[in-house]
Amino acid sequence: MEANLRKKLLYVKKNWQLYVFFLTPALLVTIIFRYIPMGGILMAFKDYNVRLGILGSEWVGFDYFKRFLSSPDFLSYLFNTLKLSLYGLLWGFPVPIILALLLNQIRSVGIKKKIQLLIYAPNFISVIVLCGMIKMFLSPVGPLNQVLGTTTNWMTMPEAFRTIYIASGIWQGAGWASIMYTAALSNVSPELEEAATIDGANLFQQMWYVQLPAIKNIIVIQFILSAGNIMSVGFEKAYALQTGMNLPTSEIISTYVYKIGLLNGDYGYSTAVGIFNSVINVILLLVVNKIVEKLNDGEGL
Protein backbone atom coordinates (compact mmCIF):
# COMPACT_ATOMS: atom_id res chain seq x y z
CA MET A 1 0.00 0.00 0.00
CA GLU A 2 2.66 2.40 1.08
CA ALA A 3 4.97 1.34 -1.68
CA ASN A 4 2.17 1.98 -4.10
CA LEU A 5 1.63 5.46 -2.74
CA ARG A 6 5.33 6.20 -2.88
CA LYS A 7 5.41 5.05 -6.48
CA LYS A 8 2.57 7.40 -7.31
CA LEU A 9 4.24 10.32 -5.57
CA LEU A 10 7.41 9.57 -7.43
CA TYR A 11 5.49 9.65 -10.71
CA VAL A 12 3.98 13.02 -9.85
CA LYS A 13 7.35 14.40 -8.86
CA LYS A 14 9.02 13.11 -11.97
CA ASN A 15 6.23 14.27 -14.25
CA TRP A 16 5.38 17.55 -12.55
CA GLN A 17 5.16 19.26 -15.93
CA LEU A 18 2.08 17.21 -16.76
CA TYR A 19 0.29 18.57 -13.73
CA VAL A 20 1.56 22.10 -13.53
CA PHE A 21 1.83 23.07 -17.14
CA PHE A 22 -0.67 20.88 -18.96
CA LEU A 23 -3.51 20.32 -16.56
CA THR A 24 -3.62 23.45 -14.42
CA PRO A 25 -5.27 25.86 -16.87
CA ALA A 26 -8.15 23.46 -17.56
CA LEU A 27 -8.45 22.66 -13.88
CA LEU A 28 -8.68 26.33 -12.92
CA VAL A 29 -11.33 27.05 -15.53
CA THR A 30 -13.32 24.00 -14.45
CA ILE A 31 -13.18 24.78 -10.76
CA ILE A 32 -13.86 28.49 -11.05
CA PHE A 33 -16.53 28.50 -13.72
CA ARG A 34 -18.13 25.09 -13.21
CA TYR A 35 -17.69 23.99 -9.61
CA ILE A 36 -17.95 27.30 -7.74
CA PRO A 37 -21.35 28.02 -9.37
CA MET A 38 -22.44 24.57 -8.17
CA GLY A 39 -22.01 25.97 -4.67
CA GLY A 40 -24.46 28.64 -5.73
CA ILE A 41 -27.08 25.92 -5.78
CA LEU A 42 -27.52 26.78 -2.11
CA MET A 43 -29.40 29.83 -3.35
CA ALA A 44 -32.29 27.59 -4.25
CA PHE A 45 -32.81 27.04 -0.53
CA LYS A 46 -32.24 30.61 0.61
CA ASP A 47 -33.85 34.00 0.45
CA TYR A 48 -30.96 35.53 -1.46
CA ASN A 49 -29.91 38.98 -0.40
CA VAL A 50 -27.09 40.68 -2.29
CA ARG A 51 -25.68 42.36 0.82
CA LEU A 52 -25.64 39.19 2.92
CA GLY A 53 -24.24 37.03 0.14
CA ILE A 54 -25.19 33.43 -0.58
CA LEU A 55 -23.91 32.03 2.71
CA GLY A 56 -25.33 34.82 4.86
CA SER A 57 -28.82 34.82 3.40
CA GLU A 58 -31.66 33.24 5.31
CA TRP A 59 -32.69 29.63 4.76
CA VAL A 60 -36.11 29.01 3.25
CA GLY A 61 -35.81 25.23 2.82
CA PHE A 62 -37.76 23.78 -0.06
CA ASP A 63 -40.10 26.75 -0.42
CA TYR A 64 -39.11 27.57 -4.00
CA PHE A 65 -39.44 23.97 -5.09
CA LYS A 66 -42.86 23.76 -3.49
CA ARG A 67 -43.86 27.00 -5.15
CA PHE A 68 -42.75 25.78 -8.55
CA LEU A 69 -44.10 22.25 -8.26
CA SER A 70 -47.48 23.48 -7.07
CA SER A 71 -47.77 26.27 -9.62
CA PRO A 72 -50.24 25.63 -12.43
CA ASP A 73 -47.55 26.52 -14.98
CA PHE A 74 -45.15 23.86 -13.80
CA LEU A 75 -46.65 20.95 -15.74
CA SER A 76 -47.09 23.05 -18.83
CA TYR A 77 -43.42 24.15 -18.92
CA LEU A 78 -42.22 20.65 -18.11
CA PHE A 79 -44.29 19.10 -20.88
CA ASN A 80 -43.35 21.83 -23.34
CA THR A 81 -39.71 21.05 -22.70
CA LEU A 82 -40.16 17.29 -22.87
CA LYS A 83 -42.36 17.36 -25.96
CA LEU A 84 -40.12 19.74 -27.82
CA SER A 85 -37.05 17.59 -27.36
CA LEU A 86 -38.69 14.17 -27.51
CA TYR A 87 -40.52 14.96 -30.74
CA GLY A 88 -37.36 16.59 -31.99
CA LEU A 89 -35.42 13.43 -31.24
CA LEU A 90 -38.10 11.21 -32.74
CA TRP A 91 -38.30 13.14 -36.01
CA GLY A 92 -34.77 14.43 -36.18
CA PHE A 93 -32.67 11.48 -35.07
CA PRO A 94 -33.25 9.12 -38.01
CA VAL A 95 -32.86 11.75 -40.74
CA PRO A 96 -29.04 12.04 -40.68
CA ILE A 97 -28.73 8.26 -40.65
CA ILE A 98 -30.95 7.96 -43.70
CA LEU A 99 -29.06 10.78 -45.42
CA ALA A 100 -25.75 9.04 -44.75
CA LEU A 101 -27.02 5.70 -46.07
CA LEU A 102 -28.22 7.39 -49.25
CA LEU A 103 -25.05 9.44 -49.67
CA ASN A 104 -23.11 6.22 -49.28
CA GLN A 105 -24.79 4.83 -52.39
CA ILE A 106 -23.48 7.62 -54.60
CA ARG A 107 -20.43 6.33 -56.39
CA SER A 108 -19.22 9.50 -58.03
CA VAL A 109 -16.95 11.15 -55.46
CA GLY A 110 -17.42 14.56 -57.07
CA ILE A 111 -21.22 14.54 -56.92
CA LYS A 112 -21.15 13.18 -53.40
CA LYS A 113 -18.82 15.96 -52.24
CA LYS A 114 -21.03 18.60 -53.87
CA ILE A 115 -24.18 17.32 -52.23
CA GLN A 116 -22.40 17.13 -48.88
CA LEU A 117 -21.16 20.67 -49.21
CA LEU A 118 -24.70 21.77 -49.93
CA ILE A 119 -26.44 19.98 -47.11
CA TYR A 120 -23.80 21.06 -44.58
CA ALA A 121 -24.33 24.73 -45.42
CA PRO A 122 -27.31 25.50 -43.14
CA ASN A 123 -25.24 24.41 -40.15
CA PHE A 124 -23.12 27.50 -40.65
CA ILE A 125 -26.06 29.85 -40.44
CA SER A 126 -26.55 31.31 -36.99
CA VAL A 127 -29.55 30.64 -34.80
CA ILE A 128 -30.55 34.28 -35.06
CA VAL A 129 -30.40 34.30 -38.84
CA LEU A 130 -32.33 31.04 -38.98
CA CYS A 131 -35.03 32.44 -36.72
CA GLY A 132 -35.08 35.65 -38.71
CA MET A 133 -35.61 33.65 -41.89
CA ILE A 134 -38.36 31.61 -40.29
CA LYS A 135 -40.14 34.75 -39.13
CA MET A 136 -39.94 36.34 -42.56
CA PHE A 137 -40.97 33.25 -44.48
CA LEU A 138 -43.90 32.58 -42.19
CA SER A 139 -45.06 36.16 -41.73
CA PRO A 140 -48.62 36.92 -42.89
CA VAL A 141 -47.25 38.74 -45.93
CA GLY A 142 -44.26 36.42 -46.36
CA PRO A 143 -43.49 34.13 -49.28
CA LEU A 144 -45.21 31.04 -47.91
CA ASN A 145 -48.48 32.89 -47.50
CA GLN A 146 -48.02 34.45 -50.93
CA VAL A 147 -47.67 30.98 -52.45
CA LEU A 148 -50.65 29.60 -50.55
CA GLY A 149 -52.70 32.73 -51.09
CA THR A 150 -53.48 33.01 -47.38
CA THR A 151 -52.52 35.36 -44.56
CA THR A 152 -52.01 32.94 -41.70
CA ASN A 153 -49.69 34.14 -38.95
CA TRP A 154 -48.01 30.91 -37.91
CA MET A 155 -45.68 32.57 -35.49
CA THR A 156 -48.58 33.45 -33.22
CA MET A 157 -50.11 29.96 -33.28
CA PRO A 158 -49.13 27.85 -30.25
CA GLU A 159 -49.98 24.66 -32.16
CA ALA A 160 -47.51 25.53 -34.92
CA PHE A 161 -44.51 26.26 -32.71
CA ARG A 162 -43.18 22.74 -32.26
CA THR A 163 -43.52 21.92 -35.95
CA ILE A 164 -41.66 25.10 -36.87
CA TYR A 165 -38.96 24.43 -34.30
CA ILE A 166 -38.39 20.80 -35.21
CA ALA A 167 -38.68 21.14 -38.99
CA SER A 168 -36.25 24.05 -39.05
CA GLY A 169 -33.95 22.08 -36.77
CA ILE A 170 -33.87 19.22 -39.25
CA TRP A 171 -33.35 21.66 -42.11
CA GLN A 172 -30.39 23.17 -40.34
CA GLY A 173 -28.77 20.24 -38.59
CA ALA A 174 -29.53 16.95 -40.31
CA GLY A 175 -26.98 17.36 -43.08
CA TRP A 176 -24.20 18.21 -40.71
CA ALA A 177 -25.14 15.44 -38.31
CA SER A 178 -24.85 12.94 -41.15
CA ILE A 179 -21.08 13.52 -41.43
CA MET A 180 -20.37 11.20 -38.56
CA TYR A 181 -22.36 8.37 -40.09
CA THR A 182 -20.97 9.02 -43.55
CA ALA A 183 -17.44 8.84 -42.23
CA ALA A 184 -18.19 5.60 -40.41
CA LEU A 185 -19.88 4.09 -43.45
CA SER A 186 -16.84 4.75 -45.59
CA ASN A 187 -15.03 2.24 -43.36
CA VAL A 188 -17.43 -0.61 -44.05
CA SER A 189 -15.48 -3.20 -45.93
CA PRO A 190 -16.59 -3.53 -49.56
CA GLU A 191 -16.07 -7.28 -49.34
CA LEU A 192 -18.90 -7.52 -46.86
CA GLU A 193 -21.23 -5.67 -49.21
CA GLU A 194 -20.12 -7.78 -52.14
CA ALA A 195 -20.68 -10.94 -50.20
CA ALA A 196 -24.17 -9.74 -49.35
CA THR A 197 -24.86 -8.99 -53.00
CA ILE A 198 -23.69 -12.43 -54.03
CA ASP A 199 -25.97 -13.90 -51.43
CA GLY A 200 -28.82 -12.14 -53.20
CA ALA A 201 -29.40 -9.31 -50.76
CA ASN A 202 -31.12 -6.36 -52.35
CA LEU A 203 -29.98 -2.83 -51.69
CA PHE A 204 -32.38 -2.30 -48.85
CA GLN A 205 -31.32 -5.53 -47.18
CA GLN A 206 -27.69 -4.50 -47.57
CA MET A 207 -28.38 -1.24 -45.79
CA TRP A 208 -30.31 -3.00 -43.08
CA TYR A 209 -28.05 -5.99 -42.46
CA VAL A 210 -24.60 -4.74 -43.42
CA GLN A 211 -24.35 -0.97 -43.23
CA LEU A 212 -26.59 -0.19 -40.26
CA PRO A 213 -24.92 -2.73 -37.96
CA ALA A 214 -21.56 -1.29 -38.99
CA ILE A 215 -22.48 2.13 -37.64
CA LYS A 216 -24.49 0.85 -34.71
CA ASN A 217 -21.99 1.99 -32.09
CA ILE A 218 -22.00 5.55 -33.30
CA ILE A 219 -25.78 5.57 -33.45
CA VAL A 220 -25.90 4.35 -29.85
CA ILE A 221 -23.46 7.00 -28.62
CA GLN A 222 -25.29 9.74 -30.47
CA PHE A 223 -28.58 8.56 -29.07
CA ILE A 224 -27.40 8.53 -25.48
CA LEU A 225 -25.86 11.96 -25.86
CA SER A 226 -29.04 13.40 -27.37
CA ALA A 227 -31.14 11.78 -24.70
CA GLY A 228 -28.83 13.26 -22.07
CA ASN A 229 -29.59 16.67 -23.48
CA ILE A 230 -33.35 16.31 -23.54
CA MET A 231 -33.93 18.85 -20.80
CA SER A 232 -31.33 21.27 -22.09
CA VAL A 233 -33.11 21.75 -25.39
CA GLY A 234 -31.76 24.92 -26.96
CA PHE A 235 -32.53 28.12 -25.16
CA GLU A 236 -31.23 30.30 -27.97
CA LYS A 237 -33.60 29.11 -30.64
CA ALA A 238 -36.70 28.74 -28.48
CA TYR A 239 -36.19 32.21 -27.07
CA ALA A 240 -35.68 33.75 -30.50
CA LEU A 241 -38.81 32.08 -31.87
CA GLN A 242 -41.02 33.09 -28.98
CA THR A 243 -43.78 35.57 -29.56
CA GLY A 244 -46.25 36.71 -26.94
CA MET A 245 -48.91 34.57 -28.57
CA ASN A 246 -47.14 31.22 -28.90
CA LEU A 247 -45.96 31.07 -25.29
CA PRO A 248 -48.44 28.32 -24.33
CA THR A 249 -46.19 25.88 -26.19
CA SER A 250 -42.94 27.80 -26.60
CA GLU A 251 -42.21 28.57 -22.95
CA ILE A 252 -39.75 25.90 -21.88
CA ILE A 253 -37.94 25.57 -18.59
CA SER A 254 -34.71 27.21 -19.77
CA THR A 255 -36.46 30.31 -21.11
CA TYR A 256 -38.55 30.45 -17.94
CA VAL A 257 -35.43 30.27 -15.77
CA TYR A 258 -33.92 33.14 -17.74
CA LYS A 259 -37.01 35.30 -17.49
CA ILE A 260 -37.74 34.91 -13.80
CA GLY A 261 -34.07 34.99 -12.87
CA LEU A 262 -32.39 37.66 -14.92
CA LEU A 263 -35.35 39.69 -16.12
CA ASN A 264 -37.42 39.59 -12.91
CA GLY A 265 -34.54 39.18 -10.48
CA ASP A 266 -36.13 36.28 -8.62
CA TYR A 267 -32.76 34.58 -8.12
CA GLY A 268 -33.57 31.84 -5.63
CA TYR A 269 -36.68 30.68 -7.41
CA SER A 270 -34.95 30.69 -10.77
CA THR A 271 -32.05 28.63 -9.40
CA ALA A 272 -34.47 26.12 -7.91
CA VAL A 273 -36.21 25.66 -11.25
CA GLY A 274 -32.83 25.31 -12.93
CA ILE A 275 -31.77 22.61 -10.48
CA PHE A 276 -35.00 20.76 -11.02
CA ASN A 277 -34.22 20.81 -14.74
CA SER A 278 -30.64 19.57 -14.27
CA VAL A 279 -31.71 16.75 -11.99
CA ILE A 280 -34.31 15.47 -14.45
CA ASN A 281 -31.68 15.69 -17.14
CA VAL A 282 -29.16 13.59 -15.22
CA ILE A 283 -31.83 11.03 -14.36
CA LEU A 284 -32.86 10.77 -18.00
CA LEU A 285 -29.26 10.31 -19.02
CA LEU A 286 -28.73 7.51 -16.53
CA VAL A 287 -32.00 5.80 -17.46
CA VAL A 288 -31.31 5.94 -21.18
CA ASN A 289 -27.78 4.72 -20.63
CA LYS A 290 -29.12 1.75 -18.64
CA ILE A 291 -31.72 0.91 -21.26
CA VAL A 292 -29.22 1.10 -24.06
CA GLU A 293 -26.80 -1.05 -22.08
CA LYS A 294 -29.49 -3.71 -21.81
CA LEU A 295 -30.36 -3.57 -25.49
CA ASN A 296 -26.79 -3.31 -26.67
CA ASP A 297 -25.20 -6.32 -24.96
CA GLY A 298 -24.03 -4.42 -21.91
CA GLU A 299 -22.34 -1.59 -23.74
CA GLY A 300 -23.43 1.91 -22.90
CA LEU A 301 -21.54 5.14 -22.80
Binding site: I32, Y35, L103, Q105, G132, Q146, G274
Partner: protein
Protein backbone atom coordinates in the same frame (compact mmCIF):
# COMPACT_ATOMS: atom_id res chain seq x y z
CA UNK B 1 -1.70 6.14 -58.12
CA UNK B 2 -2.53 4.67 -61.54
CA UNK B 3 -2.98 1.25 -60.08
CA UNK B 4 -5.32 2.68 -57.49
CA UNK B 5 -7.45 4.35 -60.14
CA UNK B 6 -7.63 1.23 -62.22
CA UNK B 7 -8.59 -0.68 -59.14
CA UNK B 8 -11.34 1.80 -58.36
CA UNK B 9 -12.66 1.52 -61.88
CA UNK B 10 -12.68 -2.21 -61.62
CA UNK B 11 -14.72 -2.12 -58.43
CA UNK B 12 -17.19 0.27 -59.98
CA UNK B 13 -17.41 -1.90 -63.05
CA UNK B 14 -18.08 -4.96 -60.98
CA UNK B 15 -20.66 -3.27 -58.83
CA UNK B 16 -22.59 -1.75 -61.68
CA UNK B 17 -24.80 -4.78 -62.27
CA UNK B 18 -27.84 -3.84 -60.27
CA UNK B 19 -31.05 -5.77 -60.18
CA UNK B 20 -34.30 -4.09 -61.15
CA UNK B 21 -35.41 -3.93 -57.55
CA UNK B 22 -32.13 -2.34 -56.54
CA UNK B 23 -32.45 0.28 -59.23
CA UNK B 24 -35.96 1.10 -58.03
CA UNK B 25 -34.74 1.42 -54.44
CA UNK B 26 -31.87 3.57 -55.59
CA UNK B 27 -34.18 5.81 -57.62
CA UNK B 28 -36.44 6.31 -54.61
CA UNK B 29 -33.43 7.01 -52.42
CA UNK B 30 -31.90 9.54 -54.77
CA UNK B 31 -35.26 11.25 -55.15
CA UNK B 32 -35.43 11.58 -51.38
CA UNK B 33 -31.91 12.95 -51.21
CA UNK B 34 -32.63 15.32 -54.08
CA UNK B 35 -35.75 16.61 -52.36
CA UNK B 36 -33.78 17.25 -49.21
CA UNK B 37 -31.11 19.15 -51.15
CA UNK B 38 -33.77 21.20 -52.93
CA UNK B 39 -35.46 21.97 -49.62
CA UNK B 40 -32.15 23.34 -48.41
CA UNK B 41 -31.41 25.37 -51.50
CA UNK B 42 -34.78 27.07 -52.00
CA UNK B 43 -34.89 29.14 -48.79
CA UNK B 44 -31.24 30.14 -49.19
CA UNK B 45 -31.75 31.22 -52.80
CA UNK B 46 -34.92 33.03 -51.89
CA UNK B 47 -33.11 35.11 -49.29
CA UNK B 48 -30.32 36.00 -51.68
CA UNK B 49 -32.65 36.97 -54.53
CA UNK B 50 -35.02 38.85 -52.23
CA UNK B 51 -32.14 40.88 -50.86
CA UNK B 52 -31.61 42.42 -54.29
CA UNK B 53 -35.25 43.34 -54.86
CA UNK B 54 -36.84 46.72 -54.96
CA UNK B 55 -38.70 47.16 -51.64
CA UNK B 56 -42.04 47.80 -53.37
CA UNK B 57 -41.78 44.79 -55.65
CA UNK B 58 -40.81 42.52 -52.77
CA UNK B 59 -43.72 43.78 -50.73
CA UNK B 60 -46.32 43.44 -53.49
CA UNK B 61 -45.43 40.24 -55.29
CA UNK B 62 -42.41 38.67 -53.63
CA UNK B 63 -39.29 37.98 -55.62
CA UNK B 64 -39.07 38.41 -59.37
CA UNK B 65 -36.38 37.64 -61.89
CA UNK B 66 -36.65 40.83 -63.93
CA UNK B 67 -33.60 43.01 -63.80
CA UNK B 68 -35.60 46.25 -63.57
CA UNK B 69 -37.10 45.07 -60.25
CA UNK B 70 -33.67 44.89 -58.69
CA UNK B 71 -32.04 47.40 -56.44
CA UNK B 72 -28.97 47.60 -54.32
CA UNK B 73 -30.67 50.08 -52.03
CA UNK B 74 -30.81 47.72 -49.05
CA UNK B 75 -27.14 46.79 -49.36
CA UNK B 76 -26.15 50.43 -49.47
CA UNK B 77 -28.07 51.07 -46.27
CA UNK B 78 -26.67 48.04 -44.45
CA UNK B 79 -23.13 48.76 -45.55
CA UNK B 80 -23.37 52.35 -44.37
CA UNK B 81 -24.52 51.35 -40.91
CA UNK B 82 -21.73 51.45 -38.38
CA UNK B 83 -23.42 49.06 -35.91
CA UNK B 84 -23.19 46.18 -38.33
CA UNK B 85 -19.51 46.76 -38.91
CA UNK B 86 -18.80 47.12 -35.23
CA UNK B 87 -20.74 43.93 -34.65
CA UNK B 88 -18.62 42.23 -37.30
CA UNK B 89 -15.40 43.47 -35.75
CA UNK B 90 -16.45 42.42 -32.25
CA UNK B 91 -17.67 39.01 -33.36
CA UNK B 92 -14.48 38.41 -35.26
CA UNK B 93 -12.31 39.42 -32.34
CA UNK B 94 -14.29 37.38 -29.79
CA UNK B 95 -14.45 34.31 -31.98
CA UNK B 96 -10.79 34.39 -32.81
CA UNK B 97 -9.51 34.91 -29.26
CA UNK B 98 -12.04 32.54 -27.72
CA UNK B 99 -11.12 29.83 -30.21
CA UNK B 100 -7.39 30.28 -29.74
CA UNK B 101 -7.67 30.21 -25.97
CA UNK B 102 -10.09 27.31 -25.80
CA UNK B 103 -8.24 25.14 -28.30
CA UNK B 104 -4.95 25.78 -26.53
CA UNK B 105 -6.19 24.97 -23.03
CA UNK B 106 -8.11 21.96 -24.27
CA UNK B 107 -5.20 20.53 -26.24
CA UNK B 108 -2.92 20.96 -23.23
CA UNK B 109 -5.27 19.23 -20.82
CA UNK B 110 -5.93 16.37 -23.20
CA UNK B 111 -2.25 15.42 -23.20
CA UNK B 112 -1.82 14.06 -19.66
CA UNK B 113 -5.35 12.67 -19.86
CA UNK B 114 -4.30 10.61 -22.86
CA UNK B 115 -1.66 8.75 -20.86
CA UNK B 116 -2.94 5.52 -19.37
CA UNK B 117 -0.33 5.62 -16.58
CA UNK B 118 -1.11 9.23 -15.59
CA UNK B 119 -1.63 9.23 -11.83
CA UNK B 120 -4.99 10.78 -10.97
CA UNK B 121 -6.39 10.20 -14.44
CA UNK B 122 -9.62 8.68 -13.18
CA UNK B 123 -10.17 11.42 -10.66
CA UNK B 124 -9.62 14.26 -13.12
CA UNK B 125 -11.69 12.47 -15.72
CA UNK B 126 -14.65 12.27 -13.37
CA UNK B 127 -14.10 15.88 -12.31
CA UNK B 128 -14.31 17.03 -15.92
CA UNK B 129 -17.08 14.73 -17.12
CA UNK B 130 -19.48 15.69 -14.34
CA UNK B 131 -19.51 19.26 -15.62
CA UNK B 132 -20.80 18.05 -18.97
CA UNK B 133 -24.08 17.01 -17.45
CA UNK B 134 -24.48 18.99 -14.28
CA UNK B 135 -23.85 22.61 -13.41
CA UNK B 136 -24.82 25.41 -11.09
CA UNK B 137 -27.12 26.90 -13.65
CA UNK B 138 -27.73 30.36 -14.95
CA UNK B 139 -28.12 32.50 -11.84
CA UNK B 140 -25.22 31.18 -9.73
CA UNK B 141 -22.93 31.55 -12.74
CA UNK B 142 -24.20 35.06 -13.35
CA UNK B 143 -23.64 36.06 -9.74
CA UNK B 144 -20.12 34.65 -9.83
CA UNK B 145 -19.32 36.65 -12.95
CA UNK B 146 -20.71 39.70 -11.26
CA UNK B 147 -18.56 39.15 -8.18
CA UNK B 148 -15.47 38.59 -10.31
CA UNK B 149 -16.27 41.94 -12.01
CA UNK B 150 -16.30 40.24 -15.40
CA UNK B 151 -19.68 41.54 -16.54
CA UNK B 152 -19.34 43.91 -19.47
CA UNK B 153 -15.85 42.72 -20.21
CA UNK B 154 -14.69 40.38 -22.93
CA UNK B 155 -13.47 37.94 -20.26
CA UNK B 156 -17.06 37.03 -19.45
CA UNK B 157 -17.27 35.60 -22.95
CA UNK B 158 -13.81 34.08 -23.15
CA UNK B 159 -13.06 32.44 -19.82
CA UNK B 160 -16.01 30.16 -19.03
CA UNK B 161 -15.62 28.40 -22.36
CA UNK B 162 -11.84 28.29 -22.24
CA UNK B 163 -11.94 24.57 -21.56
CA UNK B 164 -14.28 22.23 -23.39
CA UNK B 165 -14.61 18.73 -21.96
CA UNK B 166 -16.02 17.13 -25.08
CA UNK B 167 -13.23 18.55 -27.22
CA UNK B 168 -10.75 17.30 -24.66
CA UNK B 169 -12.14 13.79 -25.13
CA UNK B 170 -11.75 14.12 -28.90
CA UNK B 171 -8.18 15.43 -28.66
CA UNK B 172 -7.28 12.73 -26.15
CA UNK B 173 -8.55 10.01 -28.46
CA UNK B 174 -6.53 11.54 -31.26
CA UNK B 175 -3.33 11.57 -29.23
CA UNK B 176 -3.88 7.95 -28.34
CA UNK B 177 -3.93 7.05 -32.02
CA UNK B 178 -0.36 8.34 -32.29
CA UNK B 179 2.35 5.81 -31.52
CA UNK B 180 3.67 5.85 -27.97
CA UNK B 181 7.12 4.99 -29.17
CA UNK B 182 7.47 8.52 -30.44
CA UNK B 183 7.41 9.82 -26.88
CA UNK B 184 9.78 7.10 -25.73
CA UNK B 185 12.25 7.96 -28.46
CA UNK B 186 12.10 11.65 -27.68
CA UNK B 187 12.57 10.85 -24.00
CA UNK B 188 15.78 9.04 -24.78
CA UNK B 189 16.92 12.14 -26.65
CA UNK B 190 16.27 14.09 -23.49
CA UNK B 191 13.16 15.97 -24.56
CA UNK B 192 10.86 17.08 -21.75
CA UNK B 193 7.10 16.59 -22.00
CA UNK B 194 6.66 20.24 -22.98
CA UNK B 195 9.25 20.01 -25.74
CA UNK B 196 7.76 16.79 -27.04
CA UNK B 197 4.26 18.25 -26.99
CA UNK B 198 5.06 21.37 -29.01
CA UNK B 199 7.77 20.10 -31.32
CA UNK B 200 6.62 16.59 -32.13
CA UNK B 201 3.04 15.94 -31.10
CA UNK B 202 1.37 19.19 -32.21
CA UNK B 203 2.61 19.08 -35.82
CA UNK B 204 1.04 15.60 -36.08
CA UNK B 205 -2.30 16.84 -34.80
CA UNK B 206 -3.20 19.36 -37.47
CA UNK B 207 -6.50 17.69 -38.49
CA UNK B 208 -7.91 17.64 -34.98
CA UNK B 209 -6.68 21.17 -34.31
CA UNK B 210 -8.33 22.38 -37.50
CA UNK B 211 -11.62 20.73 -36.59
CA UNK B 212 -11.66 22.01 -33.02
CA UNK B 213 -10.75 25.50 -34.20
CA UNK B 214 -13.45 25.50 -36.84
CA UNK B 215 -16.09 24.28 -34.39
CA UNK B 216 -15.00 26.77 -31.79
CA UNK B 217 -15.03 29.66 -34.20
CA UNK B 218 -18.39 28.79 -35.73
CA UNK B 219 -19.96 28.17 -32.34
CA UNK B 220 -18.72 31.47 -30.95
CA UNK B 221 -19.62 33.41 -34.06
CA UNK B 222 -23.16 32.11 -34.10
CA UNK B 223 -24.10 32.21 -30.42
CA UNK B 224 -25.75 35.12 -28.68
CA UNK B 225 -26.78 33.96 -25.22
CA UNK B 226 -23.60 34.79 -23.29
CA UNK B 227 -23.24 38.13 -25.01
CA UNK B 228 -26.89 38.91 -24.32
CA UNK B 229 -26.44 38.28 -20.60
CA UNK B 230 -22.96 39.62 -19.98
CA UNK B 231 -22.43 42.43 -22.48
CA UNK B 232 -24.88 45.27 -22.00
CA UNK B 233 -22.63 47.91 -23.48
CA UNK B 234 -23.68 48.46 -27.10
CA UNK B 235 -20.05 49.03 -28.09
CA UNK B 236 -19.13 45.50 -27.01
CA UNK B 237 -21.97 43.66 -28.69
CA UNK B 238 -21.12 41.05 -31.30
CA UNK B 239 -22.84 40.73 -34.64
CA UNK B 240 -25.48 38.26 -33.50
CA UNK B 241 -26.91 40.72 -30.99
CA UNK B 242 -27.13 43.41 -33.64
CA UNK B 243 -28.81 40.90 -35.91
CA UNK B 244 -31.14 39.90 -33.14
CA UNK B 245 -32.57 43.36 -32.83
CA UNK B 246 -32.96 43.67 -36.60
CA UNK B 247 -34.28 40.20 -37.41
CA UNK B 248 -36.03 38.95 -34.31
CA UNK B 249 -37.10 42.09 -32.51
CA UNK B 250 -38.00 43.89 -35.73
CA UNK B 251 -36.08 47.02 -34.92
CA UNK B 252 -33.81 48.10 -37.78
CA UNK B 253 -30.74 50.06 -36.77
CA UNK B 254 -31.72 53.72 -36.64
CA UNK B 255 -28.81 54.58 -38.89
CA UNK B 256 -30.18 52.44 -41.70
CA UNK B 257 -33.54 54.16 -41.98
CA UNK B 258 -32.95 57.64 -40.66
CA UNK B 259 -33.97 59.35 -43.90
CA UNK B 260 -37.28 57.54 -44.48
CA UNK B 261 -40.32 59.51 -43.40
CA UNK B 262 -43.43 57.53 -44.38
CA UNK B 263 -44.37 54.61 -42.17
CA UNK B 264 -45.40 52.46 -45.11
CA UNK B 265 -42.08 53.01 -46.85
CA UNK B 266 -40.32 52.26 -43.59
CA UNK B 267 -42.07 48.93 -43.13
CA UNK B 268 -41.20 47.83 -46.66
CA UNK B 269 -37.60 48.90 -46.28
CA UNK B 270 -37.29 47.24 -42.89
CA UNK B 271 -38.37 43.93 -44.43
CA UNK B 272 -35.92 44.26 -47.29
CA UNK B 273 -33.12 45.24 -44.93
CA UNK B 274 -33.56 41.93 -43.12
CA UNK B 275 -32.78 39.98 -46.26
CA UNK B 276 -29.66 41.92 -47.11
CA UNK B 277 -28.51 41.83 -43.50
CA UNK B 278 -28.83 38.06 -43.52
CA UNK B 279 -26.80 37.76 -46.70
CA UNK B 280 -24.04 40.08 -45.52
CA UNK B 281 -23.78 38.52 -42.09
CA UNK B 282 -23.81 34.91 -43.30
CA UNK B 283 -21.29 35.28 -46.11
CA UNK B 284 -18.08 34.94 -44.06
CA UNK B 285 -18.85 31.49 -42.68
CA UNK B 286 -20.54 30.17 -45.81
CA UNK B 287 -17.50 31.14 -47.84
CA UNK B 288 -15.05 29.85 -45.28
CA UNK B 289 -16.36 26.41 -44.49
CA UNK B 290 -15.79 24.64 -47.83
CA UNK B 291 -12.06 25.22 -47.32
CA UNK B 292 -12.27 23.15 -44.17
CA UNK B 293 -14.22 20.33 -45.74
CA UNK B 294 -11.22 18.06 -46.11
CA UNK B 295 -10.77 18.15 -42.34
CA UNK B 296 -14.38 17.36 -41.50
CA UNK B 297 -14.33 13.64 -42.12
CA UNK B 298 -10.95 13.13 -40.50
CA UNK B 299 -11.77 15.14 -37.42
CA UNK B 300 -15.18 13.59 -37.03
CA UNK B 301 -13.81 10.09 -37.35
CA UNK B 302 -11.57 10.81 -34.41
CA UNK B 303 -14.57 11.57 -32.28
CA UNK B 304 -16.48 8.53 -33.35
CA UNK B 305 -13.72 6.03 -32.78
CA UNK B 306 -14.59 6.06 -29.14
CA UNK B 307 -17.19 8.29 -27.55
Amino acid sequence: MKAKEANAKKTVGRKIKRSKLDRAILLAGYTLLGLFAVAIVIPLCYVVIASFMDPNVLNNQGISFRLEDCSLEAYRRVMEDSMIWRGFANAFFYSLTATALSVFVTLLAAYPMSKKEFVGRKFFNALFLITMFFGGGLIPTFILMNQLRLVNTIWAILLPGAFNVWNMVLARTYYQSISKELREASQIDGATEIQYFFQILMPLCKPIIAVLALWGFVGMWNSYFDAMIYLNDAKLQPLQLVLRSILVQDTPQPGMIADIQSTAELAKMAELLKYSTIVISSIPLLVMYPFFQKYFDKGIMVGSVKG
